[in-house]
Amino acid sequence: MDIHELIHSELTKCGVTLAASLPDDWVAPLIRRLAADPAIRHVPVGREAEAIAICTGAFLAGVRSVAIMGTTGLHCCIGEMMSINLRHGIPVLIVCSLRGTPEDHQIYQEQQGRRTIPMLLAYDFPYVMLEKPEDIPRIPDVYNHSRLQKRPYLLFVTRRLLNAGKKP
């Protein structure tokens, strides 16, 4: 089964019915899958912080949601994650590409790669890495953990996972 299909399936098991997204090329296939799912309300946004806020509104309405974005977008919306979600204790699960790792050869991701994890540690935002297909079934536990933690929670899609998905 395709990596993105597996993630989609696990998000469905979590009860996710709303996905707000702004793509980078690593998570775009997942976004296309969710957008094509009639059971999920897909909300394309113009800025990543919108996705955070829309998922916040969904939470307050009792609807399970996910925000999807790239690493650069994560850096762009850190302030809103602090002033909206940390301030009120509102969880949001964010599926995010982990760019700038040694497997990522794009020069424009290098700065983000060195600072993403230290940034999350500074804000005390939990994160889980999806590095191999066997990690994907952890998603329902991660979703429930995000509810317990009551704060933004990162689920990283890594290059190693995407490469594993390409193997015959």
């Binding site: 709303l18 707000a20 309300r41 909300v43 394309p44 946004v45 113009g46 800025r47 912080a49 919108e50 955070i52 806020a53 829309i54 998922c55 916040t56 509104g57 969904a58 939470f59 307050l60 309405a61 009792g62 609807v63 949601s65 809103e80 002033s83 909206i84 301030r87 009120h88 204790g89 509102i90 509810r147 317990l148 009551k150």
Partner: protein
């Protein structure tokens, strides 16, 4: 011509019905609280710019419930692209009001908005794809138009031109915030709408 923010809030209060409201920080939150004491309202104390997006998330998740964003010009300018997203989703149960006083009101001494008096937000909303986008600058018009605004399918975008307040409160008048704001707002929605936001253990 511009309106007094208190008169605007009184008119909106008279037409809220059962709508759930999300207020941006500043004038919208403080004056809506003063007018209504409504706890089916989320009053923002941070996240400037994103009250409208939170309201959109509520509207999309509660399609049979009327949802209002009570925004301000300063907050709108921090998240103008929300108008594209609202147009893209076009929720019929969504109304987006903007309290437009042309200043950053919450400072000790208000300072002018970027491009003060030079921006037509309703025109921006129409260009973004929200057909029902208007500006109202007097209370008689507001009272005359609100019945249609709240009963016809949305999304509606309404700019409300008000005077800056000379006696703006130095601290927000609502006496709760943070996690208590989350719980009071969402517990009220659970009771009002019969939805489940929190599990049996409270998270």
């Amino acid at each position: 011509m511009k309106m007094d923010a208190r008169e605007v809030m009184a008119a909106l209060k008279a037409h809220r019905g059962d709508a759930v409201v999300v207020c941006s920080l500043g004038t919208a939150s403080s004056q809506w609280w003063n007018a209504t004491r409504c706890e089916e309202t989320l009053y923002m104390t941070g996240g400037m710019g994103f009250a409208a997006s939170i309201a959109l998330g509520l509207a999309l998740s509660l399609p049979t419930t009327q949802v209002w964003a009570l925004n301000s010009d300063g907050s709108l300018c921090m998240n103008l692209n929300c108008l594209l997203t609202e147009a893209g989703q076009s929720p019929k149960n969504f109304r987006h009001f903007v309290i437009d006083n042309e200043v950053y009101q919450t400072l000790d001494k208000p300072m002018p908005m970027v491009n003060q008096q030079g921006t037509d937000y309703a025109a921006i909303a129409r260009a973004a794809g929200i057909a029902n986008a208007i500006t109202i600058d007097n209370v008689a018009d507001l009272k005359a138009r609100l019945p249609e605004i709240v009963t016809t399918p949305g999304p509606h975008f309404v700019v409300l031109k008000v005077e800056p307040m000379l006696d703006y409160p130095p601290v927000p008048p609502y006496h709760y915030e943070g996690a208590e704001m989350k719980y009071r707002f969402a517990r009220n929605l659970e009771k009002k709408l019969g939805i489940t936001v929190f599990g049996p253990r409270g998270y």
